[in-house]
Symmetry: C2
Subunit: 343 residues, 2 copies
């Protein structure tokens, strides 16, 4: 049967001061009226039932996720410590196989904005069928809409069938010139939407991922903390997909965004005729290409452009949109009493 | 004896959303820890005692001014309706003469930031002595520090004595090129700091100010509302000083500012090494020449310049500093429910 594994961790820094460690971006209604985590579960409707959606996150978020997502209580897999995506996905895949020896797993993240849910489901269905038919680890590559330097790219190789190809290589976070070259050469964004059979995933891990494989027996012994203590944190891309020969790619044509910065709201939210995105009460005069988010006070902008203006959790942030990608440096330099937000 | 007349009206729009009709700029601690209205009274200490400081304002501000300024109750002259500066100053001068037939009057505004209180008092003393010695209406001209287009200018004429000169002409709010020419030619800012004997002022009004003179008998009849109903609103500059031949100018060398816009805070408040003014809690990273005012939330600016960022009275305003002069247009275009601030 088909299972979904929803990765729902996150440090809560990218959308400061709105996001916090207790409420990272995927718990916020960034792209619409509900959180992207809820959207992620809703989006699977008709493809994978809620009973077979597993969620991986840390203890800090467990309560909020349980309340939001309304999944069976034992579908929440609470990591005892963070260890990047390979251990999380390997654990969840192992757990799916424990419950269902024939488990096929779709791996996804809780922080995505997706333009077309039907196209998403069709592509996910393709990926799962490809994973079974070719016995490969299948990545979904998104047709890029811009030469984004914050994403990884997949360069497709030879055709496997009508929809699937092998992977020639992965290219992680290229510089701007390389991103343009990759885009021109038909490379795809590595979305993190993956599909595999549990059996193939665990076999490939045994062969290629020494950072995690030796700890897998701890899972057999029902010792999850021991598993996490025994692994070296590593991503599934670096720790497995880039090493395995048994990889394939199918192409996703739906709009996809990981809503990684305040600037991303301009891609995933409706804009006014001047290119502004306003969430909350905002009045913009002679201003364009701004992003305004207010959880309390009306915000008046006059004669400005390309600014992010946020009021949230008792803080006000003003920065150019093109600084949004450097939020971590900004926060590192803030006095803790201003940076740290309760609750 | 010497009397001061403090003009303390104001519509409360220039420092929106901090200033309101109930709390216009001169009731706010814009240039320091106390309001400019309080500073104005304190600054007179040693020159004119509080018992002889008259304050002219509308009913809306009467309560706040009484509480702030701690002057005798009957020193507050409450205008039944606004009518610009000529009726206000003529009424107050008339009232001073009623209490003291030999009254000499110093006229000043409640919204000034003054750099050097001693120099201010010396100049005011000069102006009062000149008014008596030459029996003229005396203006204090401030040596300009920039070609400001928002002020009026005084072009001095022939010397009257060591410190005083006649006035060749007034030039109201020149364009930028004219302001530069005026500055180069030695013209002075018309500050609104005036001195006259009550007798000379009322005699000149009778001769030159038909907009007000016919109503003065209403004051004799103790009918202040009738006086205001009988006048045509006009400024003392246009309605009298520009018309009278009996005018003189003395030169003020102290820093003087009417704190007319948010941008003015950069002149009257201490700046950080990057030219930023911050009132309230602000953290500025890689930002310069900004003005930040917050009455509640910490404000974080990153990578911006020449911005005004204000949180006050439950509103947030962001605009370039050079837009601060157009606040009235901004407010006219705001929805009333955002523009209008209670209390």
């Amino acid at each position: 049967m088909r299972w979904a594994v929803l990765l729902a961790g996150g440090s809560g820094t990218r959308f400061w001061p709105l996001s916090t460690p207790q409420t990272p971006k995927h718990l916020l209604p960034l792209s619409g009226a509900i959180s992207t985590a809820e959207e992620a579960v809703e989006r699977l409707a008709g493809l994978i039932p809620r009973e077979r959606v597993l969620v991986v996150a840390g203890e800090l978020l467990a309560g909020r996720l349980r309340a939001l997502l309304k999944l069976p209580a034992d579908n929440f897999l609470i990591e005892p410590q963070p260890a990047s995506t390979a251990p999380a996905l390997i654990w969840a895949t192992w757990e799916a196989r424990r419950r269902d020896p024939d488990a096929e797993v779709l791996s996804l993240h809780a922080d995505w904005a997706v333009g077309d849910a039907s196209a998403f489901r069709r592509t996910a269905d393709d990926a799962l069928r490809t994973a079974g038919a070719h016995d490969r680890l299948v990545t979904v590559g998104i047709v890029p809409s811009r030469p984004e330097t914050g994403y990884g790219y997949i360069v497709p190789g030879a055709p496997l069938d009508e929809g699937a190809r092998t992977v020639a290589r992965f290219s992680e976070k290229p510089d701007a010139a390389t991103a343009l070259d990759l885009m021109a050469a038909g490379a795809l964004w590595n979305s993190g939407l993956f599909a595999w059979t549990a059996g193939r995933l665990l076999a490939e891990v045994a062969r290629h991922t020494p950072e995690v494989a030796p700890a897998v027996p701890r899972l057999e012994a029902d010792d999850v903390p021991g598993f996490f203590r025994g692994v070296t944190p590593i991503s599934i891309d670096v720790g497995l997909l880039e090493r395995s020969g048994a990889v394939a790619v199918v192409t996703g044509t739906f709009a996809w965004d990981d809503v990684g910065t305040w600037q991303a709201l301009a891609r995933v939210r409706p804009k006014d005729p001047s290119g502004n995105v306003v969430v909350g009460i905002g009045v913009l005069q002679d201003s364009h290409d701004c992003i305004v988010w207010s959880d309390r006070d009306p915000v008046v902008l006059c004669g400005v452009q390309d600014l992010v203006v946020v009021q949230a959790n008792g803080r006000i942030l003003v920065m150019p949109t093109d600084r949004a990608a450097t939020m971590k440096q900004l926060l590192d330099a803030l006095p803790p009493e201003i940076r740290d937000i309760d609750g």
